[in-house]
Every structure is written in C-alpha cells, then in structure tokens.
Amino acid sequence: MNTPNKILPIVTGTIIMTMIATIPIINLINVFCCAGIIVGGFAGVYTYWKQLQNTGIMLTAKDGGMIGILCGILSAIFVTGFGVLISLFSDINPMLDVMKAFDDMGLQMPPEMIQYLEKFSDEFNQHGFSPTITIFSFIFNLLLYPLFGSIGALIGVSLLNKKNNQAL
C-alpha cells in the first residue's frame, strides 16, 4: 500500500504554527517556551496519523520528525514575512514605542542602545520595516521553529504510537 502524501499534514502544522504566532493575544501562547510551535508540530503529526489509519502503515519517528521540521521551516518563513507585511501596512514605528516605554519607566538607556534604537527607527521611517531586525528575526525563527516543531512532532509520534499499542 502506498504511503499517504505528507503535504496535508505539513500544511496543517504550518497553518497552526503561523496562526498562533501571528494572531494577537493568541500569540502569547508562544511565550510559554514556544508552546504554539510545539502544538503545530503535534497537529501535523496527528493529521498524518489520521491519514495512516486503516492503511496498516506504521507512524515512524522519521516521518513525524520530518513533518515537524518542515512545518517549522515553512512557519519561520511565513511568520517573518507576515511580520514584514504588518510593519509595512501598519505605519507603526515600534522603536519609538520602545523608547517611550523606557522614558515612562524612568530608565536610563546606555548610549549604545539609544544609537541602535535610532538606527532601527530610521530604517522603519525609510523602508516601513527594519531590514536588520527582519534578518535577525528570520535567523532566530529558522533555528527555533524547526527545533520546537520537531519536539512537538516527536512527542506526538510517541504518544500516538503508545495509543495504538494500548488499542491492540
């Protein structure tokens, strides 16, 4: 019997990861050690496991882990892309908010930090987004999303296989 296509599980996982990371308030889930990314990886594997039902094919850690990693890579691209689009269309300069927040709290910022914030602020005024922040954000996302995505997926493989064994 042919192995089911993995596109649907990868798309499902990617959509869940991206939605959790980009929708305001819901994105607070990710401040709990990237729980939203872990959930996305798990959702991808769950979708694949559902497809495998009644096919007689076993859900392997290789397939599950790969689904988690791929969902993570795609989400990292989409989340960074959405971040840029939101900056471009919202006309908000978050650097000014950061400086204002520090002022309100009465905190003295080191000169180097002010210099950096002004540099990023200029980038926002010039392009509508900060290329420097976007590049760093993309690199960090590319590290974190596949890592936590694969953790969620592999926990999913273990849990779902355990469930299958209990059902036997």
Binding site: C33, T60, L168
Partner: protein
C-alpha cells in the same frame, strides 16, 4: 495493525551522539540565560552580545522584569518560570542515563507528563483569572517539574528519529551502490 517497534535501537553509538548533543545543547541554552546579565554588566563589546542574547530569548519568553530573577543588577535571559524549565530540562537530561539506557526508545507513563503540565497550567490559569496569584516559588516549582519530565519523552523520540533517518540514508546509499 500498527505496532510500536522495539524498545532499544541497535546503533548504540548513534544514540550516544544524540544524547550528548541534547545534553550539550541544553547546557549551552542554560549558560546563555545566565551569560546575558553577566555580559550586560561587563559593558562594551560584551553588552552588544548580551543584547543579541536577550533578543534571541525574547522569541521564547515574555521577559517580564517583575517576574524574572536578576544577576549583577540585570534580569536573566528569560523569566523565573522559564529559567526553572530549562534548569529542569538540564537536570532531567543529566539523570536520564541513571534510569534508562541511552538507546532506549520506550516512554515512561504519560501520567507524569500530564500531571506536570496540568499543575503548570493551573498555576498560570488561577493567576490569570485572579483566584490565586502565583509567586516566584510556584512559578519556579511548576516550571522545574515540567522541565524535569520533558527529557524522558524528548530523548527517546530523538534517538528513534535519528536512528530511522540513519537507517533510511544507509539503505538508500547501499541501493545506489
């Protein structure tokens, strides 16, 4: 019918590599959390490195100053709950070989994972709805608990994953030859 395959992988060297990579990674992650305030206090070039460490951890934690431990008058890279989650992961990883062989792929009962997760969620939810405000102690204890149990579920998963990927690549290469 689908059946969960064997509890031990054959390639012991591979499982050792997976375990020590995970161990090293959790140690570096934990060190970075403590290096952020240390570098911030040193100033100059170190302060710049520190700001990048803080930016990196801002992706995984709210970094609320009031809910964080401080070192050298600067907050740690992540909040108190997250610090103890990662301390728990590191200690759990260190204890793992005492309980299981490194090439083990069997998981402990799911009860431990669910109990730790429910206690953590209760601590968060009761505080969020204003019934029972959480404290540094409750955040640290619940964080440590979930962190400690997680490696016992993650390490077997990664060992199985890399073993299967390794076998797959080897079979593809031998097929070409």
């Amino acid at each position: 019918m689908i059946k969960f395959q064997g509890s031990l992988v054959d390639d012991h060297n591979l499982s050792k590599k997976v375990y020590f990579t995970f161990f090293t990674f959790s140690l570096i992650w934990l060190l970075l959390i403590f290096l952020a305030p240390l570098f911030a206090s040193l100033g100059g070039m170190f302060e710049k490195i520190s700001s990048y460490i803080y930016i990196f951890f801002s992706k995984v934690c709210h970094q609320n100053e009031d809910r964080s431990f401080h070192l050298f008058e600067h907050m740690l890279g992540v909040c108190s709950r997250c610090v103890w989650i990662y301390v728990g992961i590191f200690i759990g990883t260190s204890f793992y070989p005492l309980k299981y062989r490194l090439n083990n792929t069997n998981l402990p009962s799911l009860v431990y994972l669910f109990v730790a997760a429910i206690i953590l969620l209760l601590d968060v939810m009761l505080d969020a709805i204003g019934i029972l405000p959480n404290t540094f102690f409750s955040r640290s204890a619940t964080g440590f608990l979930i962190g400690f149990v997680l490696p016992f579920y993650i390490i077997p998963g990664y060992v199985k994953f890399f073993d299967e990927v390794h076998s797959f690549v080897r079979s593809k290469l031998s097929y070409r030859e």
